[in-house]
Subunit: 355 residues, 2 copies
């Protein structure tokens, strides 16, 4: 039953996004045909992939607070979060110099390649970077517009706007903390946990739920339940992400194996490794970690240290604890029954996902 409901919800969200691009695209293309590749890049980025995690939580946040499940405005408001996510990912890939996203070239690489293929004037790399900056900006502008134009009355929009803005601010601030964290020569578990909380945990689960609740005009008790569920689950989500970034199957994740290790991404998993490994292991780890030319045996050696230090097992334990905490939080009668069932299934799927 839940799988069918998830598919239906996804179809509705994708329909709203497609509708949005059908309205917005032609307006820009009528200004100049040169804008077609820009519109197509954002459209394809949003429509060709993504798990719709944030829209899904926003929707269930609405239903759980008593909102009408068949309402159309909540679908539009929820779908707008995919445009915000598109901005975050397009800019993130540029900052990380990632070549791929969801198994395809990242936006800056795609425009760089097109520039070179067309033999245009100037630096192809800079053209790709500029295009990615501007297309991320456009996605962010459209996220804000789609949210405000979702069909809710003005009073509801203004009531929910602080949550929407807080969500946007927190993800940007979390990313800023992340780039500051990456400038440290070593890892600190407490700082890594804080970055995780702001960059991902609140942004992925808690805030989307709050947004749905705010649109419904729900009582603050509902938002408190959503925090009790959303914060631990968001952390479980990110911890699983850390594990998949090191041990994930490239065929499932769409990212090359060991990519996070070559990039030297200082995650909670890495901080925990360095906190638990012995001095020799730590020295060896810091030597290989972040080496962009690291070969497969180097990747295997880092994985071995992460495993033997106990950090991998600790991460799995933390994921289970946080999942349990999330499930306990919604085991209350304040949410509607259908939302409780859906949020319970979603929590397990997210904590145990393989991509």
């Amino acid at each position: 039953v839940t799988e069918a409901a998830t598919t239906t919800l996804r179809t509705r969200i994708d329909g709203a996004l497609r509708h949005f691009f059908d309205q917005t695209g032609p307006l820009l293309e009528s200004v100049s045909a040169d804008l077609s590749p820009a519109v197509a890049a954002v459209r394809d980025f949003v429509l060709d992939g993504g798990k719709r995690i944030r829209p899904t939580f926003c929707y269930w946040g609405w239903v759980g607070a008593g909102g009408e499940p068949e309402a159309e405005p909540i679908i539009w408001a929820s779908a707008s979060l995919e445009l915000l996510q598109a901005c975050a990912l397009i800019h993130d890939d540029l900052m990380d110099r990632s070549d791929t996203r969801r198994g395809k070239p990242s936006v800056h690489r795609a425009f760089e390649t097109a520039h070179a293929a067309d033999g245009l004037s100037g630096s192809a790399q800079r053209f790709g970077e500029s295009a990615a900056i501007l297309l991320g900006d456009l996605a962010l502008v459209w996220a804000n517009h789609m949210f405000d134009a979702s069909g809710f009355d003005g009073e509801s929009v203004l009531r929910a706007r602080p949550v929407f803005s807080a969500m946007c601010t927190e993800v940007m601030a979390g990313q800023f903390l992340d780039i500051v964290e990456q400038t440290a020569a070593t890892s600190d578990l407490e700082r890594a946990l804080m970055v995780m909380r702001y960059k991902t945990a609140k942004y992925t689960v808690e805030r989307p739920l709050h947004l749905g609740a705010a649109l419904s005009g729900a009582a603050t008790e509902v938002s408190a339940v959503y925090s009790g569920y959303g914060l631990p689950l968001g952390e479980a989500f990110q911890l699983r992400d850390d594990v998949l970034g090191v041990f994930g199957d490239p065929a499932a994740t769409g990212k090359p194996a060991g990519d996070d290790l070559r990039e030297g991404k200082r995650t909670v998993l890495i901080a925990s490794t360095l906190a638990n490994a012995d001095a020799d292991q730590c020295e060896r780890f810091e030597k290989l970690f972040g080496d962009h030319g690291l070969d497969d045996s180097g990747v295997d050696e880092l994985r071995e240290i992460i495993t033997s230090s106990g950090a991998l097992a600790e991460a799995e334990t933390l994921i289970e604890q946080r999942l349990h905490e999330a499930l306990v939080a919604i085991d209350s009668s304040i949410l509607t029954a259908s939302a409780r069932a859906a949020l319970s299934d979603l929590a397990k799927a997210i904590a145990h996902r393989d991509s």
Copy 2:
């Protein structure tokens, strides 16, 4: 009288921006002290400079349509445009690799310098770039929030939202057209004019006026008057910008002399030069133009070609024609008298400015 009114308006706009940062900054800083430099950078960027052109037009767009001059929400809504402009400039400086803005280091350079001075880990250049991307994003998020939270009722906000979003979309799309234009090996006057229209003209004058009108709930006739005034004046604004970028006094503009020539910025002035100069001059021009190491005598030689081709005189003529067109458009009784007087003075000041 008008100068005093302009000063008062500027004080009110700056007060709203200061108030906004006083609310927003501590929220972020309470998350982590590491966010203080981020907040300070955006705050200083917005408060330490800028002519408040867009907020000023938004305000007079409101008053001209019959809005109450003493109302507070219009000041907040107008001021939000400075945050949008901050996003556009921070990202623009990064894309152009500009070292300075308003006589101070650009945002990406400031964070690059701080990284190097603190001896942090990783690439200082990439840290500066990432910080500029994220701070531009934050400014854009805050622009949207400040607009929605300006104090207008929900109905007014939703009525004006399409104008606000169109303004954001157009400036990003215009910038995209600009980077595409810069990939052409030569200049085309018609394309340069279109880039100017979207990147600057609509964004600087017409849309802010429309926004003020939309917030007041004005009839479409008012918006038509604003287009008749705003489009030519916006073009005059950009043409003056082109001229100042080549011939401006560095002490007044805060930008090094001849910067646009070394950058190879393909503006309307440049397209007009190449359309009017003879073959030898064109060849010589394309040889020197865009050379980052160009010395002062090279800059002088390019200036000489721009002048002798007649392009400079043509630009001055175009500016006067467009100023005249703008003044004629508002010489109508549909706008309130105070707004007509203010818009007339603003038009002359903008067309004849030296910075």
